[in-house]
Symmetry: C2
Subunit: 306 residues, 2 copies
């Protein structure tokens, strides 16, 4: 089955999955900003360890009104742009379309579900290492997987459809019963590694693992996330923490997305990655002093950056 | 001693103190936005239980570049506009000027101190009930007092100077050794009353005190603020909580500033009043589940408002 798909945002995650879905024979249009001209002219270049693939998109626009309407609207915007969701997403959705957020952290599914219209919302959390190294050039250094879960209402059938679509495009897509659970398991990586990368002044993940004090802070942050997840009824085991540390060791000098934003002077996704998890964890009764301290340090770094 | 004073922001707090300082013989200029035209034409009208006073300002502008430079720059902007501080405040400060924040909540003094230049920063927390009822018309229903504290560096002499200036204008100004302590004592009111007013769907303070469940939540929130203040080394006693409840009972159907912003569809000062206190309290080891829950409810209300 080939679908008409709109990808909102053509950064690392948006570009990568738009490209794979187009390579699999879907009609994929892209809503982009700065990279629109390059994408229109050259398409996307997807690189991983094994291959380099160039793929043309069905359409690339900066104005959603010029793209038409789609069966699936996937959102790969930075969460800091979520105040523009209504304006960007509503014009793209056919009646009955599926909305799929591929964004980082908490609050994104709620923001999509808050749009007018009864479209079902699916959340996909991307456990991957993808960087956009130049306009239209996306590099994937860890194939990883996407965990999909229903965000709003009885959308398990939509989750299955998204998973099947992604698998057909060569993506390892796992279906999950609980978005809450997937979010905390993903945050178990993002909270310590995106956070300490900034708090330590701009360091890659290998430096965090290689420094005894930073590594210990990462471990304690992961334990706090684990306790918050349990308090919210979505527990995960120590094996998940162990696996995150192993996977990270294999990443080398990886720059988490927030570090790239921080170093480039761009807005950092503070609320979805640190503030909302702190609020929700503490509200559920978890003690999260390490996370609160980390958040204070991140804010101070961002304020000093000006 | 008469000073050249700039007031940045002509809302309730800015208008009230700009008016009193001008009545006391200081040369007071005002940086305003929507109300500038009215203020220029009619000046300010200050009303309290006893009197109605009209006062002209030395200058009213929307562009700080047109105002000149001042000995004291007082900031009464909503904290949600703090990203504009550099642009608004720097052009107004003489070398060696004092910067005085009269804003609500945490993070404002740090934001002012983060501006270029070595100007000392004083913080004034306003324990008052002031509303702007029309452009240029400011009503004060509780004389209250200002607590002043040094925010950055050895500025105790500046604190004394600000206190003396305000007293000379008829304001009860108290000097305090610790900004941390003043902030938590003020938040002991703002966190529960500004917050529950929104979380309960838009209710005045009398409704919070008159509803057993809301009153109990207010009390528990105050106890959490008390424990956070103590964990941060700035303890206050039960008498402070008792006094806040008494004062509030005397306010009648008061609309906290955040409730007014909420009902008017304007941005609410979420970070300074709830998010930063949560982060700092939890980082210091306090348990603040009630505050975290309240914050979640406020975010949900604001999201639904659209």
């Amino acid at each position: 089955m080939s679908l008409r798909i709109a990808m909102v945002g053509a950064g690392a995650v948006g570009g990568w999955y738009a490209g794979l879905l187009a390579l699999a024979g879907n009609e994929v249009a892209c809503l982009a900003r700065g990279d629109a001209e390059t994408l229109r002219r050259d398409g996307l270049l997807l690189r991983d360890g094994r291959s380099e693939r160039r793929v043309r998109l069905a359409a690339v626009e900066t104005d959603p009104g010029r793209l038409g309407r789609f069966d699936l609207v996937a959102v790969a915007l930075k969460a800091t742009a979520n105040h523009r969701l209504a304006e960007l997403v509503e014009p793209l959705a056919k009646p009955g379309a599926t909305l799929l957020t591929l964004q980082n952290g908490m609050g994104n599914a709620e923001a999509l579900a808050g749009l007018r219209g009864p479209e079902p919302v699916v959340a996909g959390l991307c456990f991957v290492c993808i960087n956009r190294t130049a306009p239209g050039v996306i590099e994937n250094s860890l194939p990883g997987h996407i965990r999909l879960a229903a965000a709003e209402g009885p959308t398990q059938a939509r989750v299955r459809a998204c998973a099947s679509l992604l698998r057909h495009a060569g993506v390892e897509a796992r279906e999950d019963d609980s978005l809450e659970s997937v979010l905390w398991r993903k945050l178990c990586w993002n909270i310590p590694f995106n956070g300490l990368a900034i708090a330590a002044g701009g360091v890659t993940t290998d430096r965090i693992l290689g420094d005894a004090a930073l590594r210990e802070r990462a471990r304690r942050l992961m334990l706090e996330v684990q306790s918050a997840a349990a308090a919210r009824g979505a527990p995960f085991g120590d094996d998940h923490i162990r696996r995150q540390l192993e996977v990270t060791a294999g990443m080398g000098a990886y720059r988490p997305s927030s570090l790239i934003d921080y170093l480039a002077g761009r807005e950092v996704e503070v609320d979805p990655i640190w503030t909302l998890p702190l609020e929700r964890g503490v509200a559920a009764g978890a003690a999260m002093p390490e996370l609160a301290r980390l958040l204070g340090e991140i804010r101070a770094r961002l304020a000093r950056r000006g």
